[in-house]
Structure formats: structure tokens, C-alpha cells
Symmetry: C2
Subunit: 155 residues, 2 copies
């Protein structure tokens, strides 16, 4: 079944490009043998830089399953996830990532996935985008409120 | 003005917790002296693991500015962005990140930001979540379609 799901994702990604809806990426969230979320890249047609295929598929799966943690689900993505989508997988508690193309394939096609991976693993003060610390002490207040809040729901 | 924006974000994050709407985080996207996007964490109340403050603020700013690249804008966030949000900043072409608390502060408050950073910088085969390569050759087809598509919009 693994290859069936991946072939479906690849076909969705090709169709997404040919129909002019966005970039060459698609993803499925699968639980058992059931597809519970589908996504294709919609960055340019929805003016949403976070509308990567994996994020779209995870958001749909969570809506359908009415949960913010979806352990028991796998992600099938036509390309190794970028750091944004990789983070989304961890926050969603997804079990496994199946991927076809790699970050190098994406880079060869003109996408900056590899650069973001490199930036992220560098010390903050050496990155291309400035990261400026500000009011760290006051920045502890939301966490104080969190600890004091009886009804907090962890995630 | 920098501190004014950050203090506003910190107040939003405290209010977000106390009102039971989500986690202890808030973010603003600012262009010049104007706030063009606001976000607070809404993961648990919207069943959306990608609804981190920064992602919510960036999506709102892009909607308002009708653009998927928003260079000229800065992000003010009450805590150093997690890898998902860090990636979103790069994809959105934001200029600078101002942050108050750090990933260690978040970790001390029970959040897995630090772990995701570590996982991401490890070789894929050593990660906690399995990454399974599948059909890499066929995974090149969406990129072939992309190169062949005359109307492609890069991002």
C-alpha cells in the first residue's frame, strides 16, 4: 500500500503544477489504509507562504479527526519536508514520514529547503536573517501565566 | 518602537492564556510603524497543530498585504520561533526576527522546541520519527512538470 499512496501523491503534485494551482508538491496523511488528509502546495494562489502540501494535509487531517495530535497517522510526501513542514510533523505527533524526492532534488529545482536547513542549524548570530533579543525578562510573563492557569491544555 | 511592539505581543500572550484560547505565545508582523498581522497560539482550541502565533500572524499579514513574500516586514514574537515558525519566516521573506524568551525558556515551560531543533540537525536515519525513502525516481516527475510549465510562479 505504501507505494500506492506515494503514487497518488505524485500524481496530485503533477496535476497541481499543470493546473496552475501552485508548486510541485503534494502530501497525504494516512491512518491505517485510510487517507484522512490531502494537500497540495497553494502558496502562490492563496498568498499563504505556509500553504505547503504537508501543512495543508496535516491541517485537513486534524480537522477531520478533530484532534491536534494525530499519532497513529503517517505522512506521505512527494519530497523530503522542509524545516517548516518537519516541525509541523513533530507538533502533530505523526508516526512516520514517507518521502520520494530529497531536499537536494528540491534545491536543484530552485527551492530554498536546503538553505533553511543550514540556517537553522547555525548559531543564531551567524544567520542571514537577524535575530534580535529583546525584553527577555518580560518575555517570561506568558509562561508564568501558563503555569498559573488551572485549565491549561498541553500540546 | 521595538519595545512597544514587543510589550504588546507579551500582553497578547498573557491574555491568550488567561482566556483559555491556547498556549503562552503571541506574535506581530510589523511594516514600518504599522502592525499588519497579529497572532496568538490557537493549537488546542482550533485543533490545528500549525496554529502557532508566528504562523497565524504571518498568514494574516500576507492576507492583508495580498502577497506571499512580505520583505520589508519584521516579526515580533514573545519567544524564539520553533523550527516550523522559523521556516515560515524564511518562506515569507521577512526581514528580521525580534524575540523575547528563548527556546530554553520554552523547554523549561514544557514545550518541545529544543527537541525539534536537535532532531532537525541530526542525520535523518538517526531521528526519533522514521523517515522512509520511497519511489525517489518517480518523485522527480512533479519537478519535471514544474520545469515544463510555462506559467509557473516561483516562491
Amino acid at each position: 500500500m505504501n507505494e500506492v499512496f506515494m503514487r497518488e501523491a505524485i500524481a496530485m503534485a503533477v496535476e497541481n503544477v499543470q493546473s496552475g494551482r501552485g508548486g510541485p508538491f503534494a502530501a497525504l496523511v494516512v491512518r491505517g489504509d485510510e487517507i484522512v488528509g490531502r494537500g497540495t502546495n497553494r502558496v502562490t494562489t492563496t498568498n499563504d507562504p505556509t500553504a505547503h502540501a504537508e501543512v495543508v494535509a496535516i491541517r485537513e487531517a486534524c480537522r477531520q479527526l478533530q484532534a491536534f495530535h494525530i499519532s497513529g497517522c503517517d505522512l506521505y510526501t512527494t519530497c523530503e519536508p522542509c524545516p517548516m513542514c518537519f516541525g509541523a510533523v513533530y507538533w502533530a505527533h505523526i508516526d512516520r514520514i514517507f518521502f520520494a524526492a530529497t531536499r537536494d532534488d528540491a534545491e536543484n529545482a530552485g527551492f530554498i529547503d536546503g538553505e533553511i536547513y543550514e540556517e537553522l542549524c547555525r548559531p543564531p548570530e551567524t544567520r542571514r536573517i537577524d535575530m534580535v533579543p529583546l525584553l527577555r525578562e518580560e518575555g517570561g510573563r506568558p509562561f508564568d501565566a501558563w503555569h498559573a492557569h488551572q485549565g491549561r491544555i498541553e500540546y
